[in-house]
Amino acid sequence: MKALLWRDLALAVRAGGGFGLGLAFFLIVVVLVPFGVGPDRSVLALIAPGILWVAALLAALLSLDRIFALDFEDGSLALLATAPLPLEGVALIKAFAHWITTGLPLTLVAPALGFFLNMQPAAYAYLLVSLAIGTPALSMIGSFGAALTVGLRRGGLLLSLLVLPLYVPTLIFGAEAVRRGVDGTGAAAPLMLMGAITLGCFALLPFAAAAVLRINLR
């Protein structure tokens, strides 16, 4: 399992691996928003957490179809399926590698981008914590979606349609946690609910992903 994690990370940072793609997309979306809504600082401060959460979600979506598609195309996935690694473990590790290469960097740069959007100082910590709790769920749900669409040509669009609705609860609780943190009305409840979603995803989705991979490999 460790070997697979290292391989996926090595592939992500080498040429054509797509590391930084999601990050650059995140940056561009956040920079574009003030051009769209105008430079009114009070409006920007109000929408900053929501914009950052939506942008992070779209940036995570960008690299999802690579999770299994590349391994499927070059035949590695069939070889991994016959290897002693359980496919459930493969799905889990690949989601984790996806999180390290997209979710983690997004979480770390989000506060810096919050500065561009004139986010209130109280919101920074809540944004960081909510993204840290929520983005692993995005990767795990995405890995399931990628497993569903792995054999399809141009499966990326279908993948987005399948996965985005599943992202809704994480998005709602994530943005709500930041808003409540700023208001001082208690962010613990949305953070805990989001944590429960993340843990539930990691407990159940590797099995679902492995099951659909087996069907897709037939």
């Binding site: 460790k2 691996g17 069939a78 070889l79 002693p84």
Partner: protein, 204 residues
Amino acid sequence: MLQVRDLRCARGGVPVLEGVTFDLNAGEALILRGPNGVGKTTLLRTLAGLQPPLDGTVDYPEATGAYASHADGIKTALTVTENLTFWAQVYGLTVPDTVFAAFDLDGLRSRAAGTLSAGQKRRLGLARLGVIGRKVLFLDEPTVSLDAFSVRNFAGWMRDVHLAQGGCAVIATHIDLGLDVPTLDLTPFVAQADATGGSDEAFL
């Protein structure tokens, strides 16, 4: 070591082969032959466990089988050594130094796999079989894009290393590998046109 009884397998929901029966002992290999589309790949995938058989049994000791497909499963951004090391680690082993010489990869160790020629990539794909230490191999057209020298080299490894150490192999190929092993023509096992049972209906 490998027992196949009355195996019936399907491709895309259509039964292609039925009644396939054979035995292999340690140190034996079997060459599969038959025209394109007869079901060689389907049979090998079923034997390797990638798809369930419609009927019949495949029996070999647990955790001894390995499959090699048309695709080599190598990562172009990794070097030759990194590719082999990855597969060795997946199987909990280390790369034996002899494997580079056996598959004529000695001068290519630190080359990125993306810069290899088609034949060299194939040799790297086959070298994977030398590092994973599996006894029962299911090989699908292992000699595609290999030159005559590499084919002899691979046949030599198969005979002198793999089979000599008590392994066995089922190999689908169209060329003469120069191995002194039995051949199984799949044409007589083609499923009847009206054969049913391959549908996924129960699942859907």
